[in-house]
C-alpha cells in the first residue's frame, strides 16, 4: 500500500494537498478512480458489493496512511454514506443500479440532511415530499430547503431526508429519497465560508418531481437510514492521519522559521505548545485503536465515535492554530489566487503562509459540522456516563 501511495498517486495531487492548494472536481475523480482500480475505494463495503474485506483496523490504517501521504480525501457522500444505507435498506434494484455508479464515478453524490435553522437537530426536517400519481407513474413532489451541502456544486445526485407525514412526531414521518440534481425546480446557491471559499451550498426544492422508485427503505422510516448513516463505522472520525500530516507540516514550518536567531521549534513556549499537542495526538492514536477494538468486540459505536470526534477535532484545530501562529506577521496576508496550484505570482512569508490562516479558519467547522462537539458531549453524557 505504501508503494501505491508513493508511486502510483500522481505527485501533482499530493503536492496540492501538501501545499494547501485547492482540489478541483477532476482531482477527486482521479483519486476515486485510482482507488477503485485497486478495489480500495469502497473499503467499508462488504466484499459482495465490491469492498476489499478489510478489518476495522485495516481500514483505519489505510485511511491514516493516505492522510499522511497527503493524498486527496475520499469524498464520502456516495462511498461512505449512501453506499452503506443502500446496502442495508435499499432494494436489490437500487443496489444494482446505484452502487456500481458510486464506484465508477458515474454519480457524484451530495447530502441533503441539514436544514436552515435546524443545526445539529437533524430530525427537524421541514422539507416535504407529497406522494402522487401522474401519467409518468408514482412520484413525490418535494418542496423545501437543504443547507451546508458540501461540494454540492459538483453533484448530480443528492440523498435527502424529507417529511412525508406532517402529522407524525418529529422523528417519524421522515423518508429517505434519492434526487437527481438536474431535476426542474432545484436551485443550488453557494455559501461562502468566512475565509472566502466555496465549499458548502444551499439547495432549494420547488415542486421537484422524484420517482417513487427513488425512495430508500419504507416511507416514514427514513430516520432509521439517517441514524444508521450517522453511526456507520466512523473509525476515522478523529482524523488521526490528517492530524499527523498537519503536525509534520507544522514541525517543518517551525524548524524553518526563526525567532531570537534560532528555529521557532526551539523556542520554549512554542516547543511546549507543539509537544503538548504531539503527545495528545500520540495518545489519541491509541485511544482510536482501542475504540476500534472495543467496537469490533461489541462496544457502542455511536458514543465511542463521539469521544473520538471531540478530541480528534480539538487536536487538529490546535495543530492548525499553531501553524497559523508560526506564521507571525505573515498570517495576515491572504490572496485567494495563491490557493490555485498554478498560481505563479509572488509568494510572501514562510512556506505554507499562503494557506495557514485560511485552513485555520476553515477548520473551525470541524467542531461544528457532523454533529457539533456540544451535541457529542450530550451523547456521551447520556450513552456512556448515564447522566
Amino acid at each position: 500500500m505504501r508503494a501505491f501511495l508513493e508511486n502510483d498517486v500522481p505527485a501533482r495531487l499530493k503536492d496540492k494537498v501538501a501545499n494547501g492548494k485547492r482540489l478541483d472536481k477532476a482531482d477527486t475523480e482521479q483519486w476515486h478512480a485510482l482507488l477503485n482500480g485497486r478495489g480500495w475505494l469502497a473499503n467499508h463495503w462488504p466484499t459482495e458489493f465490491g469492498g476489499p474485506g478489510w478489518t476495522a483496523v485495516e481500514k483505519f490504517i489505510f485511511e491514516n496512511e493516505c492522510a499522511v501521504a497527503n493524498t486527496p480525501r475520499i469524498v464520502p457522500f456516495g462511498v461512505n454514506m449512501l453506499g452503506p444505507v443502500l446496502i442495508k435498506y435499499g432494494s436489490t434494484a437500487q443496489q444494482q443500479y446505484w452502487l456500481p455508479r458510486i464506484l465508477d464515478g458515474s454519480d457524484w453524490w451530495c447530502q441533503g440532511y441539514s436544514e436552515p435553522g435546524a443545526g445539529s437537530d437533524l430530525a427537524a426536517v421541514r422539507t416535504t415530499a407529497v406522494r402522487g400519481v401522474d401519467a409518468d407513474g408514482e412520484h413525490y413532489i418535494v418542496n423545501g430547503q437543504k443547507t451546508w451541502t458540501t461540494l454540492g456544486q459538483h453533484a448530480n445526485m443528492i440523498f435527502c431526508l424529507v417529511r412525508t407525514d406532517r402529522e407524525a412526531k418529529k422523528q417519524e414521518g421522515i423518508s429517505f429519497l434519492l434526487i437527481d440534481m438536474t431535476s426542474p425546480g432545484i436551485e443550488i446557491r453557494p455559501i461562502i465560508t468566512l475565509e472566502g471559499e466555496h465549499e458548502v451550498n444551499e439547495v432549494f426544492f420547488t415542486d421537484v418531481r422524484v420517482p417513487s422508485a427513488n425512495l430508500v427503505g419504507e416511507e416514514n422510516r427514513g430516520w432509521n437510514c439517517a441514524k444508521y448513516l450517522l453511526t456507520y463505522e466512523r473509525t476515522n472520525i478523529a482524523g488521526v492521519g490528517l492530524s499527523v500530516a498537519a503536525l509534520e507540516r507544522l514541525k517543518r514550518v517551525a524548524a524553518n522559521t526563526r525567532r531570537h536567531g534560532r528555529p521557532l521549534a526551539d523556542d520554549p513556549a512554542f516547543a511546549a505548545r507543539m509537544a503538548r499537542v504531539e503527545i495528545d495526538l500520540e495518545n489519541m492514536k491509541t485511544t482510536n485503536l482501542r475504540m476500534i477494538a472495543a467496537v469490533a468486540g461489541g462496544g457502542v459505536p455511536g458514543a465511542e465515535s463521539s469521544m473520538l470526534k471531540i478530541r480528534g477535532t480539538e487536536i487538529r484545530q490546535e495543530i492548525l492554530s499553531l501553524t497559523r501562529r508560526a506564521m507571525g506577521v505573515y498570517a495576515r496576508p491572504f490572496k485567494q489566487a495563491a490557493l490555485e496550484a498554478d498560481y505563479d505570482g509572488p509568494q510572501v512569508g514562510p512556506a505554507f503562509a499562503h494557506a495557514a490562516s485560511a485552513q485555520y479558519f476553515n477548520n473551525r467547522k470541524l467542531s461544528i459540522f457532523g454533529g457539533s462537539n456540544e451535541i457529542q458531549k450530550n451523547i456521551i453524557a447520556k450513552m456512556i456516563l448515564g447522566l
Partner: protein, 379 residues
C-alpha cells in the same frame, strides 16, 4: 479612582460610534475591505474631520488628545465597527514616531497626517523578525551627506497607498542589537523602493517593501543616528494599546451578537441560550472580556509611567488580548454553529479580526516572554 472617561472623550466616542454605525455599516465596510485600496479615502477624510486623528495627538503636536485613554476610546470604537481606515499605521505608529523623534521640520508633516492629507505608515517588521523589535537586517549606510538603504520590510499596513514611510534600518551593531537602529522618513515613490500590495485575511491591504539602494538626503534621518529603538518602542507601545482597545471593541460586538443569537435561535424547541453548558461558557467569556478591558485600562493608565512599568503593562495587555481575543473568536463561532462559519455573518469578520490582531505587533507568546524579561530587569 474614577473609571468614567472625561466629558470630551465621551463625546468623541459617542460621535465616532454614531458615525461608524450610520456610515460604516457592515456592507459598506466589506466593500471597502475588498476594494483596491483596502480603505476609503472618502471615509478617511470624514474621520479626519470628526477629529478622530487629532484625538490621537497631543496639543504640542497639533492634536487635542494623545493620552492613553484617548487612544483606547478611539480604537475601541473602531473595533466595534471593524473600521479599516489607516489610523493605526498613519496616526499611531508613524505619527507617534515622528512626534517622538522628529525635528521641527519633520514634525511639520504631522499637520498633514492629522488633517488626513498625508497617509503615513511604519515599515519596521522584516521577513525574519517574528515580532522581535530589535531585529533589523535592513541596512542604512552613509553616502556623502545622505544615506543608502537596502533591505526588505514585511506586512506594512496600507503600504501601497502611504505617502510617507517611517522605515527602520540598522546603521551599526549586531542584527538584534537595540543600539544601532536608525529611523528614516521616506516619501513614497522614491527610487529603489518597490511596494508589493496584497489583501489580508481580515480585510484591508498590506504591502511588502523592498529597498534596493534607496538614496535619502541627510534630513531623512528621524531622531538620532543609532538611537531609533526608543522611538520604535514608544510608537509600537502606542500601537499595542490601540490594537488592544480595538480588540476589546470587537470582543464586545462579538459577545453582543452571540448573546443575541443565543436568545433567539431555537433548537430542540427552546432557545439555545437556555442550555446551561452554553450559559456557563458565555459567563466565562464575559469574565474574560472584562479582564481584557481591565488590561487595556491598565495599559492606557501606564502609558506615561516609567519605562519598565509602562512596557510591562503594555505587554500584559497584549498577551491578555492575544489569548482572550482568540478565545472569544473561537467560542463565538462555535456557539453560532454553522452560520458562524459564513462570510455573510458580521460575527465571522469580527472573529477573523480578533485572531489576526494577535499577529500584529507581537503575539501572546511574544508579549508573555517580554513581560517576564522586563520583570527580571526590574528585579
Amino acid at each position: 479612582m474614577n473609571f468614567e472617561h472625561t466629558e470630551e472623550r465621551r463625546m468623541l466616542a459617542d460621535t465616532l460610534d454614531r458615525f461608524v454605525a450610520q456610515q460604516y455599516g457592515f456592507e459598506v465596510r466589506n466593500r471597502i475591505a475588498a476594494s483596491s485600496r483596502g480603505f476609503s479615502p472618502d471615509m478617511w477624510g470624514q474621520f479626519a474631520e470628526l477629529g478622530v486623528i487629532g484625538a490621537l495627538f497631543g496639543e504640542d503636536d497639533g492634536g487635542f488628545g494623545g493620552a492613553g485613554f484617548d487612544i483606547a476610546v478611539v480604537f475601541e470604537s473602531l473595533g466595534r465597527g471593524l473600521v479599516l481606515e489607516p489610523l493605526l499605521g498613519s496616526a499611531v505608529l508613524a505619527g507617534s514616531a515622528i512626534a517622538h523623534a522628529g525635528s521641527n521640520d519633520q514634525k511639520a508633516q504631522l499637520a498633514g497626517i492629522i488633517d488626513g492629507s498625508v497617509i503615513a505608515t511604519l515599515a519596521h517588521d522584516e521577513p525574519d523578525t517574528h515580532y522581535e523589535l530589535a531585529r533589523v537586517q535592513t541596512t542604512a549606510r552613509r553616502d556623502g551627506e545622505g544615506w543608502v538603504l537596502d533591505g526588505a520590510k514585511a506586512v506594512v499596513p496600507h503600504g501601497e497607498h502611504a505617502n510617507l514611510f517611517v522605515i527602520s534600518a540598522r546603521t551599526v551593531g549586531a542584527v538584534d542589537d537595540e543600539r544601532g537602529i536608525s529611523l528614516f522618513l521616506v516619501p513614497a515613490g522614491v527610487a529603489g523602493l518597490s511596494v508589493l500590495g496584497m489583501p489580508t485575511m481580515d480585510g484591508g491591504r498590506v504591502a511588502e517593501l523592498r529597498l534596493d539602494g534607496v538614496r535619502l538626503d541627510a534630513h531623512a534621518l528621524l531622531g538620532e543616528e543609532g538611537g531609533g529603538y526608543a522611538t520604535l518602542e514608544h510608537a509600537v507601545g502606542r500601537g499595542v494599546l490601540a490594537l488592544c482597545a480595538e480588540a476589546v471593541g470587537a470582543m464586545e460586538a462579538a459577545k453582543a451578537a452571540t448573546l443575541d443569537y443565543l436568545r433567539t435561535r431555537k433548537q430542540f424547541g427552546v432557545p439555545i441560550g437556555s442550555f446551561q453548558a452554553l450559559q456557563h461558557r458565555m459567563a466565562d467569556l464575559l469574565l474574560e472580556i472584562e479582564q481584557a478591558r481591565s488590561a487595556v485600562i491598565n495599559a492606557a493608565a501606564a502609558l506615561d509611567a516609567p519605562r519598565i512599568a509602562r512596557e510591562r503593562a503594555l505587554s500584559a495587555a497584549k498577551t491578555s488580548i492575544g489569548r482572550i481575543g482568540t478565545l472569544v473568536a473561537e467560542e463565538c463561532i462555535q456557539l453560532h454553529g454553522g452560520i458562524g462559519m459564513t462570510w455573510e455573518l458580521p460575527l465571522a469578520h469580527y472573529a477573523k479580526r480578533l485572531v489576526m490582531i494577535d499577529h500584529q505587533l507581537g503575539d501572546e507568546d511574544h508579549h508573555l516572554e517580554r513581560y517576564i524579561t522586563l520583570g527580571r530587569v526590574a528585579a
